[in-house]
Symmetry: C2
Subunit: 309 residues, 2 copies
């Protein structure tokens, strides 16, 4: 494939404007030709009210990037796959784990690429951390993923609705990195979920995982954090401590800061999507969402004070 891939984008909200539009504009492999959004418009391309209208009016669209909240993603993805388009899903890939399995089946059936993206896995420190940890004896893992929800999710009512994940919306970024860099599959042993009295989803969660070797893996997610975000994963091994901080932009192994280059998560995501389309492949890992579902299944819920934005 030497031509550019004509792409449409659906869901023109904060994440689309902050990340997807610049990444597509800067990528030589993609050409944005259409947008679908109920309320927003993208300058310089054809705009539609919804994905179905876009698909009907734009037969030249080859790929669709879905950036709307997870609660509406399935219907959009099904429509795009049924029309033979390649599909990239923002994280989380669905409102339930099983619906993502159904989408993967549809992609196979229609010979389309389905890419369930996890942008944090494309942070610059992740692959270096994975490589270093591959053969290490790990004794403990401590994860802290804490931020101010008012700063990072202003006006995003959907995060508090069923399917919106609450504090797991950022927390799933940590889980997407953990499942990538830790050499052994881990599983949830117990969890504490802190749910505001007037909300459906947790505002904070403490998760205790382990693996087949019994390694203690602790993750703390909190949306009630002060102005400076704490997005870090500390892995203690017999050969030293690895610290991935700033969401994966900073890597320290023992006392040494590792040079990992600049942050380019979303450009890297579109590189990956382009490669998958070029090789007729899909990449659908539900693992991080699986861990959140396990936490909601197994976690003990505690009511905490009401949250008003």
């Amino acid at each position: 494939m030497t031509e550019q891939v004509a792409i449409g984008i659906a869901g023109v909200g904060k994440i689309a404007r902050d990340q997807h539009l610049p990444a597509i504009a800067g990528h030589p492999g993609f050409k944005l030709i259409a947008g679908a959004s109920r309320n927003a418009r993208i300058d310089g391309v054809h705009n539609y009210q919804n994905v179905e209208d876009m698909l009907k009016a734009e037969p030249l669209v080859q790929a669709v990037s879905l950036c709307a909240p997870p609660q509406v993603r399935f219907a959009q993805a099904r429509a795009a796959l049924a029309a033979g388009k390649h599909v990239m899903l923002e994280k989380p890939p669905g409102a339930s784990v099983t619906e993502v399995d159904v989408l993967a089946g549809l992609a196979r059936q229609n010979q389309c690429t389905l890419f369930a993206s996890w942008h944090s896995r494309h942070a610059p420190g992740v692959e270096a951390a994975r490589a270093w940890l591959a053969e290490k004896a790990i004794t403990a893992v401590n994860v802290q993923w804490k931020e101010d929800v008012r700063r990072w999710h202003p006006g995003q009512d959907w995060i508090w609705q069923p399917g919106g994940l609450g504090v797991f919306d950022p927390g799933i970024n940590a889980l997407s990195i953990m499942t990538r860099i830790l050499p052994h599959t881990f599983f949830l042993k117990s969890a504490e979920l802190f749910v505001p009295a007037n909300r459906h989803n947790p505002i904070a969660a403490n998760l205790d995982f382990s693996d087949a070797l019994g390694t203690p893996i602790r993750a703390e997610f909190d949306w009630r954090h002060g102005p400076v975000e704490l997005w870090q994963i500390e892995v203690i091994t017999r050969d030293g401590v690895l610290r991935l901080a700033q969401g994966g932009k900073f890597l320290q192994i023992d006392a040494e800061v590792v040079d990992i280059g600049p942050e380019r998560e979303y450009p890297s995501l579109y590189d990956r999507f382009f490669d998958l389309i070029s090789t007729n492949a899909s990449d659908v890992d539900v693992g991080p969402l699986q861990h959140v579902a396990d936490a909601m299944l197994l976690g003990k819920r505690h009511e905490v004070e009401v949250f008003e934005e």
Copy 2:
């Protein structure tokens, strides 16, 4: 393999006494030689306080059947697999979906059989229903799984604790049949969970599923039902209505009652376990538990009146 398989049983509670012990006693392929239980003893075999002690003292045990509540199952299964034993798990196979994946990995590594059993799939009407539905155009599915919790779970405090599933403990039986007989993968669209004010898990749940074709699939689970249980699955097709009732013991297709033979769920489970051991195979389908995790992830929780046993 012509010899009998020496088997131990762990967790000697209601389900072990009602079902597992008679099924093993009646099976020519198994010989029960040991039991592990904190409080209970099995007559005529060696008894131990826990699985670890049993494994240490009984090197001739080849297989272990785990009947304890899901919250303690992982540690028992890991110990048995690490000792090279074949393992059968009562349903649900774990307290989280991911821990079952870890057990499957351990079984592969140790070349043992792991059987995540779903006893309701062995109800006599299930395979006949599956065969009839395989090529049918399904227009709707209605599931009602309703019983009196006081009758069916007397004194079982663990069902109300995190990991104990609440009304999904019986409801997962319906899900295990649905995932077996319906020809297309289905997924949860929305759910309503009804949780007593003094309990952690739902006492009732309404679930709306669909599949890639948009088929409406509705399941209602309720533990507040009267003295006569309602365990039925109705599948409406263009060629007539299939009704599987009494938990799978009764099958009617259109107006016609189908002769499906007597109920022998647990004997059939042990047939399957024996076959898996004989062929060095495993059978681990987390699908039904996956649907419960999705329901807890996506379901809207409603507080309902306190439940006292």
